[in-house]
């Protein structure tokens, strides 16, 4: 648990940020 919160959790949060960045890429808007 210690290693998880100290080392894995920050990487998971960063991975979440990257996933969010990629998945919110704007698509062509239908007018």
């Amino acid at each position: 648990m210690t290693n998880f919160v100290l080392f894995i959790l920050p990487l998971l949060v960063l991975a979440l940020a990257i996933a969010g960045y990629v998945l919110t890429k704007p698509r062509e808007v239908q007018k």
Partner: protein
């Protein structure tokens, strides 16, 4: 002046670091005053033309600066690995806000020409002066209290480092903040906050790296295990504390001085890279603060080894012990700057509420004020609000009220504005009455809970829940007063209304 005498008893790298920082601030303020202070939109939102890097960094630093550098390192010193929960909640919440809430707020506020959080609520919900009055009153009260307490904190830090009277420390801190905020407005505030973000990242990455490298992870964990095994157990503080610390994140959507950052970005599309950058910054600084606190505990073992037996003194103390004098000097300057960068943002948001919402919209009935006079009126209000904040500290009863309000500031603002903001952004059924009810309920429940049940649960959580419930129920009860053009507003927020997002008058004046 007696400053020469002061400099003699202080080590010069700290003075050099501090003076260097002040010179940079003056340059930034002069640039901002020259480049972008031609209208109220310039003065309070940087003309809605801020780069995403500045928006990302200034939003993370003005939200927490002093609390993170001094407070979280102290929490990790006392509680060990469990302090992680205090940083994970707001980091994830702010990622969500940047990706999904900020672009919607940016699009609609640009379209409507909104400058402040009350502007946003009123124009999106077609509310009147009652809603505007409720929102702006809560903002101005909390912001004056916040500013006063930050001036006080700056004064204390200043006095401790430069060995002068805290009252002079307070006045010097206030004078610096007021000067550059008055001259440069939002651009000066945002640029100085972004610079502060660089200082903080440097401090919270370099210092923990140096300290942990000198110890080694293995020996550090062994020492903590021998000292108290609970320091390595992130759940040792109990479920209540874990939930409360994660719940700090619920405060983020309700901070007006953070929400205006979203409104100031040049293009809503740029909030995506801002989300990524802000999250990297939050993660590096947050976990850096936790590592530093834990390493400090392994080295000093008890609070008695720290100056004043105060865990919050850990960061400046370790900077002095582990880094070359000149670098430590810069980091100590960064602590002042942290306090100042929070005070300036709160000062400007409070002033925007007074000028835009109370004066222009409520008293003057929405009449246009010529751009130049608006900027000068705003500068006057920044000065007046600072004098009021300082004055309050000298009136015994009022000073108590200031510190009383600051106790609830983060959780109370989060509960008052967070749910109304999120409902207004995502739910077409939200009404002006619902939002107003949420603001009042959130603030009141937070305060009442603090005095009655806060031993069991952090007051921000029930405050947030009660506010959300109030928005929902009152909106349902007043469904007939939903704005007629809500569908169009939702389309604008989703970015489905063509590429041009800002109001034509404002775009023309750029």
């Amino acid at each position: 002046m007696s400053e020469t005498a002061v400099v003699v008893d202080v080590n010069w790298p700290i003075v050099a670091g501090f003076v260097g920082y002040l010179v940079i601030l003056v340059v930034i303020a002069a640039y901002a005053g020259y480049a972008r202070a031609g209208s109220m939109t310039d003065y309070f939102l940087g003309g809605r033309a801020m780069r995403y890097v500045v928006v990302a960094l200034s939003s993370v630093t003005s939200a927490r600066s002093g609390w993170l550098v001094l407070g979280v390192t102290g929490m990790a010193f006392v509680n060990g690995a469990a302090a992680v929960w205090a940083v994970v909640g707001y980091t994830v919440m702010e990622l969500f806000l940047f990706l999904f809430v900020a672009p919607r707020i940016r699009r609609i506020t640009g379209r409507m020409g909104d400058l402040t959080l009350p502007d946003f609520f009123v124009s999106r919900l077609r509310g009147g002066n009652v809603l505007r009055g409720i929102v702006v009153t809560v903002i101005v009260l909390f912001m004056i209290a916040y500013v006063a307490s930050n001036f006080q904190a700056g004064g204390t830090a200043f006095a401790g480092t430069f060995n002068i009277d805290p009252e002079w420390g307070l006045l010097i801190t206030a004078a610096i903040v007021v000067l550059y905020t008055m001259v440069g407005g939002y651009v000066a505030v945002a640029l100085s906050d972004a610079l502060q973000g660089l200082f903080m990242l440097f401090g919270l990455v370099v210092l923990p790296t140096v300290v942990v490298a000198s110890l080694g992870w293995g020996p550090m964990f062994d020492t903590l295990q021998a000292l108290n095994p609970a320091l390595l157990d992130p759940l040792a503080v109990g479920a209540g504390m874990v939930i409360a610390w994660i719940g700090i994140g619920l405060g983020s959507p309700g901070q007006p001085h953070v929400v205006v950052r979203y409104m100031s970005v040049d293009d809503p599309k740029n909030l995506r890279p801002a989300a990524l950058l802000a999250t990297f910054w939050n993660v590096l600084m947050g976990w850096g603060a936790v590592y530093l606190g834990m390493a400090g505990r392994a080295i000093y073992e008890t609070e008695d080894a720290l100056p004043g037996q105060d865990p919050e003194a850990l960061f400046p103390f370790m900077a002095g012990e582990y880094l070359p004098a000149i670098v430590a000097g810069i980091l100590v300057a960064a602590v002042f700057a942290a306090i100042m960068s929070t005070a300036d943002s709160q000062l400007l948001v409070g002033a925007s509420g007074i000028v835009r919402d109370i004066y222009q919209r409520i008293i003057a009935g929405g009449r246009d004020i010529p751009s130049r006079s608006a900027v000068w009126i705003s500068r006057g209000v920044v000065l007046a609000m600072s004098l009021a904040a300082i004055g309050l500290l000298y009136v015994p009863g009022a000073a108590d009220a200031v510190f009383w309000l600051v106790l609830f500031a983060w959780g109370g603002l989060g509960a008052a504005f967070g749910p109304p903001l999120l409902f207004t952004v995502f739910w077409r059924g939200t009404t002006a009455a619902g939002a107003g009810a949420g603001v009042v309920t959130g603030a009141l429940v937070t305060i009442v809970w603090y005095y009655t049940l806060s031993d069991y649960l952090f007051e921000g959580l029930p405050g947030f829940a009660a506010s959300a419930l109030a928005v929902w129920l009152v909106s349902l009860a007043t469904a007939r007063s939903r704005p007629a053009d809500v569908e169009e507003q939702m389309r604008v927020m989703r970015g489905q209304d063509g590429p041009v997002t800002d109001s034509p008058e404002e775009t023309a004046s750029r």
